[in-house]
């Protein structure tokens, strides 16, 4: 269960790329409040949660991702993050795959997904090394615009469609924001 949710964490502040010089061009991500993010994810027909190895730096996030997974969202565990799920005994719809090959697949409309059931319509990135996630968002932004790019990471991700502002230095607020997303997904 998500921790008791504090209402109204403002996730739209500090819309500055976490690597400040990553300013690619005229199209830049917008920051959204958690409940909007949650509602968008809830409405996605084929969402995919993509999580990376930074979860090991903040292990409680594994539990939050598992909570999202239990709502029926498959999880692509990139890098070696799958170990966090193995250790927690949760492997339902958890797939071990690198972010690079995964993004390569996602570029193609004929990709049938990790479960063979079809291409995804939304990817939700979380816990991935900033520069790497930023570049993979860029690949999708430029070469497959049919997939909605959502970041619920603690960074402002300029190449996403929807992102939080920077919350890298306010971990408590960030945790609460993710809990708000989860709560909104349950509505």
């Amino acid at each position: 269960m998500a921790a008791e949710v504090k209402k109204g964490i403002d996730t739209t502040k500090n819309p500055i790329p976490f690597e400040m010089a990553q300013v690619p061009g005229p199209e830049q991500a917008k920051c959204y409040m958690p409940k909007v993010m949650g509602a968008i994810i809830r409405k996605a027909k084929r969402p995919l949660l993509v999580v990376g190895a930074e979860l090991f730096d903040d292990p409680i996030m594994f539990d939050k991702m598992i909570e999202m997974g239990k709502m029926g969202i498959p999880i692509a565990a990139t890098a070696h993050s799958v170990k966090g799920f193995v250790d927690r005994g949760y492997m339902t719809d958890v797939y071990q795959i690198g972010l690079h090959p995964l993004t390569n697949y996602l570029r193609f409309p004929d990709y049938m997904g990790l479960d063979g059931k079809g291409q995804y319509d939304a990817v939700i990135f979380m816990g991935i090394f900033y520069k790497f996630a930023n570049a993979m968002f860029s690949a999708l932004k430029n070469f497959n615009r049919d997939i909605k790019r959502i970041s619920i990471d603690r960074y402002y991700h300029i190449n996403a469609n929807m992102t939080f502002g920077n919350m890298a230095f306010t971990p408590d607020d960030y945790h609460d924001a993710v809990d708000e997303v989860i709560a909104a997904m349950k509505k």
Binding site: M20, T78, H80, H100, F129
Partner: protein, 805 residues
């Protein structure tokens, strides 16, 4: 004028101008027939490149959504839109990739061109002799050029060829020329191949001219680390990639018996090359064994840490990988700088033709911060004399290198925790947290992050309080700097033919699970120790581990429980459970050379002018995988691209997204994994092996799993495949806690299954993947993509089909 073929008489000629064209060489002594593609032009190997690009999808990760290269711009290319000139985002990315590869290629080629002229001037035209144990002595040159260099002069042909190709390639990047991304990539692959050639020419020239080791598995252990530089002597640092001036400094010190007054430390690849001089068994034109006298100060990633640590008195820079603010950093600390090549002159006055005494006087008395001296011999003498003479002057000037305790405290108190520094730090170090801990008296956090910090200094540029953050790191690590003393094996040079004969069959059949080549520089995503961890994992598992450049240096900074570096733990042969240091950045060519030699020495493939045939062999049969775990430069982009054209996959670290382009296959598309069986010309589906040509891994753990997978080849026999699967699965179990999701697609026969997982896997194949199994005979009835077939001869080239007479 009467002439016979090949000769004419000049006795009676008057006022005649003679233009000599190409000189027809003496009868060819090489027993190999000329292959189809000697000196391939820009489009010659295009079909091979397109085969690579069709299987390994070109994937772009644009760092910029706009194009600003011409006056039509800026153009917004977001979403693969076209700009005013008509180029789309993919084409624009391809253009930048090609330019980057050309930068890298030119850096090595120009290095080779400089060395060529310098060696011809200094040593004269020498016989190209790699010794009795390396008869296939220039595999890349022979494969690409279709000829064998016999003396230094012959390398000129290779350089001319390379230079012409580079001009043609660069021309294609002009607006209005090439626009198709796939052809930009074909050209980038061409540039990469040329880079391999340029590196080989460089290394072969210096190996012979400076009598470096020629495949010496027992090359000596040498000293590495900032703590090895004797602070009682003048310390001269030779920094960069071109050994010419550094070598002259060594020779001057030797000839004038000055080693008790001066220590020479190399930084970056110049360090490797200085430490190889005079350690060979060839013609000796340099002092015997002199290469053991200088120290390896460290890799280029340590530069800003070194200069702040106060370990040096004078710096000579040559070329490539030199931080652009070297002069500013040195001037601040009264360290005279000598620029020794025309590639990096730093705005300094050119004093090449001035008297040495006058230059020394100016530098020692701080009349100018540095000079450019483009004569290596002169620069070398000046470097030694200045380092010795300036040391007491610098002591008198009371130059402060490290902060005092008070200054350190003053610095950290300025921090307002605004975290601007964290927004620019490549490895995302939370510097304000380190400062917070330091305020509580705990410097351990600064110490722990010392090797993670890449020394880029962007934090200092962004700090609104003007805190010299790198100086804080230096202060906190002052004890470590003094004790940074380790052992590294000197660069051994190429693999010997006998070594290749011994490992050729095990590599091709898979019983040596692979060749792992760790190359490149030192900007790791999570600290320099990662290169040691990766090397250790694979050498322990019986892979052949090969390394070079800054990677070889950085992995020397760690020891096992017995205090031994990796070089002291394992022998230096080209064999399983060995680790070779091939040498400097240009010695990376030796890695490609080894792969070619497997094809030509073990498999008797003709390599002469036959690049795509050899690359096809390597792609299908030689389980090699490169890893550039920290590379920053365009040279790394071109080296990796050259390896890709040669059929060698490469894994890179996450910062490498800045290179913008990767090659990665789609394992879900069976039609992408069809090859020709050369025995009968029939098409055969294979497992995706290797699955990628250029793969970005997020963490070292992911990299290691992927590297084990990228060593699979269609030609593996069952024993070999079983061994490779064992390592792939073991590494995944170790770091991911589970078997990889795709292990089953590499299984062709029950004999392929790793013994330790066999029962579990058999059950899973039946229950999860729907294979049918004859349990009594332990055989697959259905399921595998193809049967295991030890005589299967996979190829991507139709001309390799063996026709029956």
């Amino acid at each position: 004028m009467a002439t016979n073929q090949g000769s004419f008489s000049v006795e009676d000629m008057k006022n005649v101008q003679i233009n000599i064209g190409a000189v027809v060489k003496e009868a060819d002594e090489w027993d190999q027939e000329m292959g189809p593609f000697p000196k391939p032009g820009v489009a010659t190997l295009r079909s091979w490149d397109h085969m690579i690009a069709n299987r390994y999808k070109i994937m772009y990760t644009p760092a910029d959504d706009t194009c600003t290269l011409c006056t039509y711009g800026p153009c917004d290319l977001t979403g693969n839109k076209r700009g005013a000139c008509g180029i789309d985002q993919a084409g624009a990315c391809g253009k930048i990739v090609l330019i980057a590869c050309l930068m890298g290629c030119c850096a090595h080629a120009a290095h080779g061109r400089h060395l060529y002229h310098w060696c011809m001037d200094k040593f004269g035209d020498m016989k190209f002799d790699m010794g009795d144990e390396i008869l296939v002595d220039s595999p890349l040159y022979q494969t690409i050029m279709g000829s064998k260099p016999k003396t230094f002069k012959d390398f000129n042909e290779g350089l001319y060829y390379l230079e012409e190709e580079v001009v043609q390639l660069l021309a294609a990047t002009h607006t209005g020329q090439e626009s198709a991304f796939i052809d930009f990539e074909s050209k980038a692959l061409h540039a990469g191949m040329l880079d391999l050639l340029g590196m080989e020419i460089c290394d072969m020239l210096q190996i012979v001219a400076y009598d470096m080791p020629r495949g010496a598995a027992d090359a000596p252990l040498i000293e590495i680390g900032m703590g090895t530089l004797d602070q009682n002597k003048g310390v001269l640092i030779a920094y960069g990639h071109n050994l010419a001036a550094g070598a002259e400094a060594m020779i001057y010190a030797e000839n004038n018996n000055l080693w008790d007054k001066v220590d020479i430390g190399g930084v970056c690849c110049t360090a490797h090359d200085l430490n190889r001089i005079g350690l060979g068994n060839g013609e000796l034109k340099v002092p015997k064994g002199i290469g053991t006298k200088p120290k390896v100060a460290g890799a280029m990633g340590w530069w800003r840490k070194m200069i702040r640590s106060g370990v040096m008195d004078c710096v000579m820079v040559d070329e490539q990988c030199v931080f652009c603010d070297v002069l500013a950093d040195a001037e601040k600390r009264k360290i005279p700088v000598i620029a020794t090549t025309d590639k990096i002159m730093l705005g300094l006055p050119d004093r090449t033709n001035d008297p040495i005494d006058a230059i020394v006087d100016d530098l020692v008395n701080f009349k100018m911060p540095g000079v450019a001296v483009l004569d290596p011999t002169k620069a070398g003498e000046i470097g030694i004399r200045v380092a010795i003479a300036v040391k007491p002057k610098r002591a008198e000037a009371k130059i402060q290198n490290l902060l005092t305790e008070e200054q350190f405290q003053e610095g950290i108190k300025k921090c307002t925790t605004c975290n601007e520094c964290a927004f620019v730090c490549p490895p995302h170090i939370r510097i304000s947290s380190l400062i917070g801990d330091a305020m509580k008296g705990n410097l351990l956090s600064f110490s722990n992050m010392y090797e993670v910090c890449v020394g880029c200094g962007k934090c200092e540029q962004s700090c609104p309080q003007g805190i010299n953050i790198l100086d804080l790191f230096e202060y906190a690590n002052r004890q470590y700097i003094k004790t940074q003393k380790f052992k590294m094996r000197a660069g051994r040079g190429p693999a010997r033919d006998t070594e290749i004969r011994a490992v050729g069959a095990p590599i091709v059949l898979g019983t040596i699970p692979g060749v792992i080549a760790l190359v490149g520089c030192s900007n790791y995503p999570n600290g320099t120790k990662e290169c040691y961890d990766i090397a250790k994992e694979f050498v322990d598992r019986g892979y052949i581990v090969v390394t070079s450049g800054c990677m070889a240096m950085d992995m020397s900074l760690y020891t096992d429980v017995d205090g031994k570096t990796i070089w002291e733990q394992y022998p230096g042969g080209f064999d399983g459970r060995n680790i070779c240091n091939t040498g400097s950045c240009v010695s990376n060519a030796n890695i490609g050379d080894a792969a070619i030699k497997v094809a030509t020495i073990f498999a008797h493939r003709n390599h002469r002018g036959n690049f795509d045939d050899i690359a096809d062999y390597i792609l299908n049969k030689v389980g090699a995988c490169g890893v550039a775990w920290g590379a920053y430069s365009q040279k790394a982009a071109s080296i990796a691209t050259g390896c890709n054209r040669l059929g060698i996959p490469v894994v890179v670290q996450p910062h490498s997204v800045m290179y913008r382009r990767t090659f990665i296959g789609r394992a879900d598309k069976p039609e992408d994994w069809m090859v020709i069986d050369a025995r009968d010309g029939k098409m055969q589906q294979i497992e995706p092996a290797p699955e990628a040509m250029l793969y970005i891994a997020e963490t070292k753990e992911e990299a290691m799993v992927e590297m084990a997978k990228l060593c699979f080849r269609p030609s593996d026999n069952s024993i070999g495949r079983s061994i490779k699967l064992t390592h792939y699965c073991d590494i995944s179990m170790k770091y991911c806690g589970k078997l990889p999701d795709d292990w089953h697609i590499f299984v062709r026969d029950t004999k392929d299954l790793p013994l330790v997982y066999k029962d579990q896997m058999m059950k899973e194949l039946e229950s999860k993947h729907g294979w049918t199994i004859d349990w009594k005979n332990k055989k697959f009835i259905s399921g595998p993509l193809r049967p295991a077939d030890v005589s299967f001869d996979p190829t991507n080239l139709a001309r390799k089909i063996r026709t029956k007479k």
